[in-house]
């Protein structure tokens, strides 16, 4: 076993009744890195995290966390990990400080030590002023921060975050991203699941794409994006007929199509000669394309290319610049 691996997973399988959720997951995560497991709802992300965090047992396969088997050494694994789920696992009727002190007691700290650890984490997560208020008065973002603080009380070396920003507003999401970035800098290993491609792109050193209970792609986000091509030429047709003609002309180069928006994405290397050639080839008479955009490929594009479906319906792609012709 390589020493610098925080998580090693091989051939993980899990079914609930007749429904197969994981069908052979393989993963490795380097110690001290941030790893994102990316996938749509129902792809098996939460099941994977629950198995790694010793809460659920795989039907087949092996998983080691911090060098320890998650089944045979589960008690020792539990002293080295923390899990933050999709829903804040803290008591609304206790204050923030009381929640953290309780976690400190469960981690074996006593008296002054427990209070100091609680105070330290409240400060670090900007909750010092709210520490003596009951958690049920907290906002969603504050709750998540406290939840994450609670998971750090025992100084875990591997931190599991299951969809840490699902349901948060933009500002709270930004704050959570900063926290995760800080954590990564402190030397711990972070394993997070997300359905937000942008999140994986922003936070993770490596990304694995999970779909239908299998890892269908794995690499740095740059590597994954390279699988689609560096840039995309987004074309918007003038009408439905023109859209149909553009799709036919593009053939296999079409990375994405959106008939409702009359939008078509075509791969390009982003150079002027290539873009000019593409425009000329797809629209020789200059009457099919209304306007176009050139943008760097996002993980969205990777996802669609890899799985044949969008990660998340309604996720808007960032547009860079629109050029009218």
């Amino acid at each position: 076993m390589a020493v610098d691996l925080a998580i090693e997973v091989a051939g993980l399988e899990k079914s609930f009744g007749a429904v197969s959720v994981l069908s052979g997951v393989d993963l490795t995560v380097r110690r001290g890195s941030v790893f994102a497991l990316l996938g749509p709802n129902g792809s098996g992300k939460t099941t994977t995290v629950r198995i790694l965090a010793t809460l659920s047992r795989a039907d087949a396969g092996v998983a080691r966390v911090a060098g320890l088997d998650v089944v045979h050494d589960r008690h020792r694994v539990r002293r080295r990990i923390s899990l933050t789920g999709q829903y804040a696992a803290i008591d609304g009727l206790q204050t923030g400080e009381e929640n953290l002190r309780m976690m400190a007691w469960l981690c074996g700290l006593r008296g002054r030590q427990a209070s100091e650890r609680a105070g330290e984490l409240l400060d670090r997560f900007g909750l010092a002023d709210a520490g003596r208020r009951r958690v049920k008065t907290y906002s969603g973002g504050m709750r998540r921060r406290l939840d994450l603080a609670a998971s750090l009380v025992g100084r875990p070396s591997v931190i599991f975050l299951d969809e840490p920003t699902t349901g948060l507003d933009v500002r709270s999401r930004q704050a959570m991203w900063e926290v995760v970035t800080d954590l990564a800098g402190s030397g711990v290993t972070v394993f997070l699941t997300t359905q937000y491609l942008e999140e994986a792109d922003r936070l993770a050193d490596r990304v694995a794409v999970l779909d239908g209970g299998r890892v269908i792609a794995e690499g740095t986000s740059a590597e994954l994006k390279a699988r689609v091509a560096g840039y995309l030429l987004d074309l918007t047709a003038v009408d439905a007929t023109a859209f149909g003609e553009l799709v036919r002309a593009a053939g296999g180069r079409a990375a994405s199509t959106d008939p409702a928006a009359l939008n078509l994405g075509v791969t390009t290397d982003g150079t002027a000669p290539d873009v000019r050639a593409l425009l000329g080839e797809l629209d020789p008479a200059g009457e099919r394309i209304g306007h176009f955009t050139i943008r760097t490929a996002t993980l969205d594009d990777v996802f669609i290319t890899l799985t044949g479906h969008a990660a998340e319906p309604g996720h808007t792609r960032p547009t860079e610049e629109t050029v009218h012709v």
Binding site: L55, R76, I90, L93, M102, R155
Partner: protein, 262 residues
């Protein structure tokens, strides 16, 4: 963040320490859930007043009705207060905090034990208040110190039985509302027993159930200890029922907990 020495991390956990932490947690949560606490005390108190002042005049029990009915009201109250345990357990299971505790290596026994202990604390508060009201409206127990100790022991055993049963039910229920159903079941149980009217006054087909259900020997034991009526073999039956219920419920809870968290 400095990594603690591995030896420190792998030090055996202290199950007692975890249980005490869970007891503190559950007691604190209970004490801050004022509505539940008020309902738990107010409802049995209202039922006591209702029976004593509205129905009591029409019920012939051979003694002052308050003297007759008080043990039954106490049991009704304890059943109801204990039943809240089901709701607390279901909330923990559904709200994800159980995953956090398990991932911290806290045992199910510590979490459930905390809820049962909190139930005992709630029951103590409720019983003291109920007894005070009873004394205010004229209840005069004949019990000496030994009888009081016996009564407290009986009540405690009953509370443990009902709370563990509620905890097991809480593991079965999927929503706090569903778990609340246990309270209705427990509230109903004292009616077909010797709690409110002597069993002889009930229709014949009900005698068998009323005489042999667990609540009747508990009430007869309490009544004997507090007001001097004959106890007979009720004390043994009560102890047997309660101990049996604790045993069955804890085993059931252990199995259900394992299944819920598999």
């Amino acid at each position: 963040m400095s990594e603690p020495a591995l030896a420190e991390r792998d030090r055996p956990r202290s199950p007692t320490g975890d249980t005490l932490t869970m007891v503190r947690r559950s007691v604190r949560l209970s004490s801050r859930n004022l509505e539940a606490m008020l309902t738990s005390v107010m409802l049995p108190a209202m039922i006591m007043l209702l029976f004593v002042y509205l129905f009591g005049g029409a019920i012939e029990t051979g003694t002052a009705y308050l003297t007759y009915v008080l043990p039954g009201v106490l049991i009704l109250c304890m059943g109801f207060v204990s039943a809240q345990t089901a709701v607390s357990v279901t909330q923990d299971m559904e709200e994800g905090i159980i995953d956090r505790f398990r991932s911290m290596d806290v045992s199910g026994a510590a979490v459930l034990g905390g809820h049962v202990a909190a139930s005992a604390v709630r029951n103590t508060v409720a019983t003291v208040i109920l007894l005070l009201i009873a004394v205010l409206i004229g209840f005069r127990p004949t019990a000496g110190p030994v009888e009081w100790l016996g009564a407290i022991g009986t009540l405690l055993l009953f509370v443990l039985a009902m709370s563990w049963l509620a905890a097991a039910f809480g593991l079965l229920a999927r929503t706090p509302e569903g778990a609340n159903g246990f309270a209705f079941f427990v509230m109903f149980l004292p009616y077909p027993s010797s709690a409110f009217v002597p069993i002889e006054t009930m229709p014949g087909w009900l005698h068998g159930f009323a005489r042999n259900q667990p609540v009747t020997p508990v009430i007869e034991t309490l009544r004997g200890l507090l007001t001097g009526t004959p106890i007979g073999n009720s004390a043994w039956l009560a102890a047997g029922w309660c101990a049996g219920l604790v045993l069955v419920s804890t085993v059931l809870a252990a199995v259900l907990f394992r299944r819920r968290t598999a």
